[in-house]
């Protein structure tokens, strides 16, 4: 290793400078600007009216809860389904599991817009499912578009692949002998799951949860295309305010989205930085 002198420190700083300036310029400065702007009224004076509006206006509050609710349901749904799927992929060596393990990542490779429009042609009330049901003499209308169900379904479609990938990796890191020795001393399948598999994979589950939360609290494309006109998710609401040139209020909405993301970022950092006693190795 090179011995650190003030000269190497300067060199390191110089090499980092371009990236640093870029990051400051396109992330930090706008962030600060937005933050300041959110505390202004229309004519540039300090004011809390934007936040006051967001937390008192009936429609704005509905948007806020709608956004949080959809995100929480998405996180819970995606994690539950992904965990079950990952367990199946880890512990079954059937042909079906092999096929699934090769194709489950495909949604990651489909562009958002393409996936949404593809889904629409299938589940629309006059879509493929409807046509198919008419062949058999029914008139089945899934009713999945322009409401929360549609957004959540689409979110699950995008996020299950991602969460499964992370959890599969976590479960693959648990050696068979750990599970077998638990069975060997007398623990059944369920008990082994709660005492061995879950504690040894929970950290990665939390990581997957924070990622899904962060990407969905600010989602725009999906709710914009298949969401309802009211209530709106915050991403769409933000654009609305922006296009109506209410920049201060748009800024306040951004700050709120950022605040929610920060909470989950803190959870992420906490679970990653905090090493449990057993994770510290070495004599």
């Amino acid at each position: 290793m090179i011995k650190k002198t003030w000269k190497t420190n300067v060199l390191i700083a110089c090499m980092l400078l371009p990236a640093l300036i870029l990051a400051l310029g396109i992330i930090l400065v706008p962030m600060i600007n937005v933050f300041i702007q959110s505390f202004q009224d229309g004519s540039g004076n300090f004011s809390l009216e934007q936040y006051y509006f967001l937390f008192t206006d009936k429609l704005a509050l509905q948007n806020l809860w709608y956004t949080v609710w959809i995100t929480v349901v998405t996180v819970a749904g995606a994690i539950t389904i992904s965990y079950l799927l990952a367990l199946y992929l880890r512990f079954s060596d059937s042909k079906i599991s092999k096929v699934i393990s090769t194709v489950y990542l495909l949604p990651r490779f489909v562009p958002h817009l393409v996936a949404i429009y593809a889904m629409m042609t299938v589940v629309r009330d006059s879509g493929f499912l409807n046509r198919l049901s008419q062949v058999f003499g029914y008139n089945f209308k899934p009713g999945l578009l322009y409401n929360a169900k549609g957004i959540i379904m689409m979110n699950l479609w995008f996020n299950i692949a991602f969460a499964t990938m992370i959890i599969v990796a976590a479960l693959a890191g648990i050696p068979d002998s750990i599970i077998e020795s638990s069975r060997d001393v007398g623990a059944g399948r369920i008990y082994t799951f709660f005492k061995m598999v879950l504690p040894l994979s929970i950290k990665d589950v939390l990581v997957a949860m924070t990622f899904i939360f962060m990407s969905n609290i600010s989602s725009f494309t999906t709710p914009y295309i298949i969401g309802p006109n009211h209530p709106k998710m915050f991403g769409v609401y933000l654009r609305d305010q922006f296009s109506k040139m209410r920049y201060e209020r748009a800024a306040a909405v951004s700050v709120l989205i950022f605040a929610f993301s920060s909470i989950s970022a803190i959870v992420y950092l906490y679970t990653n930085l905090k090493e449990k006693e057993w994770e510290k190795t070495g004599l």
Binding site: P175, S177, S181, D184, V185, G188, L200, W278, K280, L283
Partner: protein
């Protein structure tokens, strides 16, 4: 098979999808006996062990422990305990929690748990490690705890799957001795799997030499060593010279049963090929018309030989095998 065997395997067949596995295995292990399944990797020894432990399902045949059929029991219901090659301990639990886990499941009272764990740690010389996590201990210490954890549950049969193979040589032989001592002290029945013939010789009451899914020979270590039933066993256990005979059979002689003198006129003549110092004795190889023959000589005796010297070999106790690998007498 005797009726009072602790563990009895009757006509066991267990096949993988690939067609590999073990066929028609019969074995009886007495109470307090340590039987080793020995063979190269892929010979089926671990398959048998895992079938006894319940981690693999037998296609046919029976496994009995103390006369009770356990062939179709789940692993958690079997009166067996298994120690794996590595990653035995649960990394998120302390040594104490690891050891208490099985006792808790058996509803052993807390105070009793504490007493038994303390006793066991004392026996495996790991007292004071209660609060350590597996990641904070060496491989040898972890395996000690793993064996202790299994013994705590007082299994009818202890199954060990190459438990020392990931350890370095010195610790391995130390662990071997300790295991043997504990096993005889507690009079427990053990099935031990290894590919290391030296380990098998050192530990076992009886050795089962395996080859491609079936038993080649079963017997005490001395018998296996002194009277290998087939050329395969002769080759696998210890060192052996195979000398082709004019009648097509093969003569097998251990290096310690070959003696050497300078000049010619022995059972076999040749030239010194290598002289290798191996501690308190010398290993010599001799180039003969029938191939290379290995033998041992003392350090003083070796002084009179140099590479290329003509030597005469006298072959002592030997075995004969036909080409079909069975013993010819």
């Amino acid at each position: 098979m005797s009726g009072n065997a602790k563990l009895e395997i009757r006509d066991l067949t267990m096949l993988y999808k690939t067609g590999d596995g073990v066929r028609n295995i019969n074995l009886a292990v007495e109470q307090g006996e340590l039987v080793t399944l020995l063979g190269p990797s892929g010979c089926g020894k671990t398959t048998i062990l895992r079938t006894i432990g319940g981690f693999l399902q037998a296609a046919s045949g029976q496994i009995l422990i103390s006369g009770k059929d356990i062939t179709h029991m789940l692993p958690e219901k079997r009166p067996t305990a298994m120690v794996f090659q590595s990653y035995n301990l649960w990394p998120h639990m302390t040594v104490y929690e690891n050891m208490a886990f099985g006792l808790k499941l058996r509803k052993v009272p807390k105070s009793e748990q504490k007493r038994r764990i303390a006793e066991m740690l004392e026996m495996i010389k790991m007292s004071g490690y209660e609060k350590k996590y597996p990641g904070q201990m060496s491989g040898g210490q972890q395996q000690r705890i793993a064996i202790g954890r299994s013994l705590l549950l007082q299994p009818d049969v202890l199954l060990l799957d190459e438990p020392f193979s990931a350890l370095d040589a010195k610790i391995r032989s130390q662990m071997r001795e300790e295991l043997r001592k504990i096993q005889t002290d507690l009079n427990i029945t053990v099935v031990f799997v290894t590919h290391d013939q030296e380990e098998a010789m050192a530990l076992s009451d009886r050795i089962v030499v395996m080859n491609k899914g079936s038993f080649e020979q079963v017997g005490p270590p001395q018998e296996i060593y002194n009277r290998p039933a087939s050329r395969y066993v002769a080759d696998f256990i210890g060192e052996m010279n195979f000398i082709p005979m004019p009648d097509g059979s093969i003569k097998a002689v251990r290096p310690e049963n070959v003696s050497v003198s300078p000049g010619t006129g022995g059972n076999l003549d040749g030239y010194v090929r290598t002289i290798m110092m191996l501690g308190h004795y010398i290993e010599m190889t001799v180039d003969t018309d029938c191939g290379i023959v290995k033998l041992f000589v003392s350090a003083e005796e070796a002084e009179q030989y140099k590479r290329g010297n003509p030597v005469a070999l006298t072959l002592g106790e030997s075995h004969r095998y036909n080409d079909d690998q069975s013993a010819a007498g």
